[in-house]
Symmetry: C2
Subunit: 351 residues, 2 copies
């Protein structure tokens, strides 16, 4: 239904070019760490879990292009690959999780070796390919589990709203937030789903509504600024979003506009659910205040389809993400269970 | 600085085509009531006060194209013109205010006549031209007065956010919300102004930021979904918007997205100001629940610059407006004074 997002085959990673969706299904091939990082940076692929999977593949890709002559040299190559990959985008923790995991895996294998040989190097590469495959398989399974746990939270005739694309296209599985919606739809619990278009990149308009169409979920597209009006007038009874990074206290960074939806949901007494696998949780951060928010280019706001929509010389802000405080989140659904940062009673008190 | 929005000259109304801004300044000429209504409907011109002014000109335009032979026939022509003009768009009260006023003016003049003659008919047309000129002049003066009263509410170093375009381009004067900002800027009270782009029509990106640039107000464009994040992080201390219709209790209909900003402003304890001339106040409506919200076409959401940004066959909602309850409005600034629907203390209690 949804085309494969990443296809790895010895030394080549074919990446579904999400910038062309929904009008064209085409793949871009990346062959090393720098190309992987560039594809992430340029948003050929996006979505925190998928970024993590691509990052993992970046390591065997890079090593396949190299012919080092020692383990020391190999470790330097891996370190450089990690540096390049981690510099691609700052907010999604999955990227750092995957890069660290691949680097540690390689280090552990190398630590168990004595003499260097090209054959042993090839075995290392294959082990890293298996590890990257494991990262993607874990993501697929996590999506399925979160879909089930999240769908449990929804009642029959749910009218839901999701933001950005936390769907199959953001993961290697059925998605996080959209996975919950499609799973709930399969259980006949969804009456209607709204997708906010998600300016400036229009992931909602281009990707999420396309996924919902393909899954035959009754759905409509809205502009981001319609959400409050529809919460008041259209009976929306759940907001379901993904996450890029979650601090230890439950504060959650996600696509710009998520925080607004959380405040609006609170005001309208609508439950607000975050769906994210555990590699999104950054226990090293006490609160969301410490999450680094990526500031992207002004042109991504002022140009649409290559055309300037604002006057020449205009300045635009472009924070890619915002932080939703835990107190506005009803529950965080992970593959390991449902976390309720604060109880519902205290949320009600805020409004 | 800002090009004239409407230029009337005997039987022709040149309308600045705001759909082409900011890239091109061009005029469309309308010559009768139907063309005036079409220009309003197609958003060649927009903004409640400006719609009212154009509607007023629609009457002398229509009468100039006609050669009736009785006052009875003349009254029928005027009635038909009013019907056509009032059907253009449903939400902005200024349209109905102007149409009713012109119709009443004509009826009063005709009631004072005995015999019909082509010469007396010409005198009627000229009287209606003077009345339409009066409607536009009143709007210009109201803008100046609201600018002064609104600027009084802002402190030095204000960081403000406005939505849609409630500027010179929406009026025959300096604008309503943007008029307040430019007047406060002239008094050196504006540190920074944010304009939200206002999907789907991008009036903020195309019109408001252009006006702010021309008035040399330090300003930045944002997407609609960034507002909450900037309220939290950028020190915004006033939200200033226009209005299309205000119910007797202060509930206010304005461009879609306004209600969200009001809720978000309340949550962040930021004053929320509505700037609108008294012809916006509809005393016949008890509350905002009774305001008719225009539902516009799905294509205006799914196409940007003539290109489909969503998958084929997608359904999109497109309410053109939303209603902000009076309890979320700090003050309504009219040309006759400042109305405070409810006192600030009670607003604070809501959050």
């Amino acid at each position: 239904m949804i085309p494969p997002r990443l296809i790895y085959k010895k030394g080549k990673l074919k990446v579904l070019d999400q910038r062309l969706l929904p009008h064209r299904v085409a793949y871009l091939t990346v062959r090393n760490a720098a190309q992987t990082a560039k594809a992430i940076k340029d948003m050929v692929l996006r979505g925190a879990p998928l970024i993590g999977c691509a990052a993992a593949w970046g390591f065997p890709l890079e090593l396949r292009t190299r012919r080092p002559s020692s383990w020391k040299e190999t470790l330097t190559l891996i370190k450089n690959a990690a540096r390049i990959i981690k510099a691609a985008r700052p907010t999604a923790l999955a990227l750092f999780y995957a890069a660290d995991r691949m680097q540690e895996k390689a280090a552990a294998i190398i630590a168990g070796q004595k003499e260097f040989s090209p054959k042993k190097y090839r075995l290392l590469v294959r082990a890293l390919e298996r590890e990257a495959a494991k990262v993607t398989e874990e993501d697929r399974l996590a999506c399925a589990r979160m879909g089930a746990l999240g769908a449990d939270l929804l009642k029959k005739n749910s009218i839901v709203l999701t933001h950005c694309n936390a769907g199959a296209l953001a993961t290697m599985g059925i998605g996080t937030a959209v996975g919950v919606i499609t799973e709930a739809h399969a259980r006949d619990r969804i009456k209607h789903a709204y997708s906010s278009e998600t300016r400036p990149y229009l992931q909602g308009a281009r990707l999420t509504i396309w996924e919902l169409q393909r899954s035959k979920v009754p759905s409509e597209l809205i502009t981001d600024n319609m959400a409050a009006h529809l919460m008041k007038t259209a009976g929306i009874n759940a907001i379901i979003v993904g996450a890029d990074r979650i601090a230890a206290n439950g504060d959650t960074a996600n696509k710009i506009g998520t925080y607004a939806l959380a405040v609006l949901a609170g005001y309208h007494k609508i439950p607000f659910y975050v769906i994210a696998p555990t590699p999104t949780i950054d226990a090293s951060l006490r609160t969301g205040e410490e999450i680094k928010i990526e500031e992207r280019s002004s042109e991504e706001v002022t140009f649409i389809n290559g055309r300037l929509v604002a006057p020449k010389g205009v300045r635009a802000r472009h924070p890619g993400f915002d932080v939703t405080p835990a107190k506005l989140i009803t529950a965080i659904v992970t593959e390991k269970g449902v976390i309720r940062p604060v109880n519902r009673a205290s949320i009600k008190k805020q409004f």
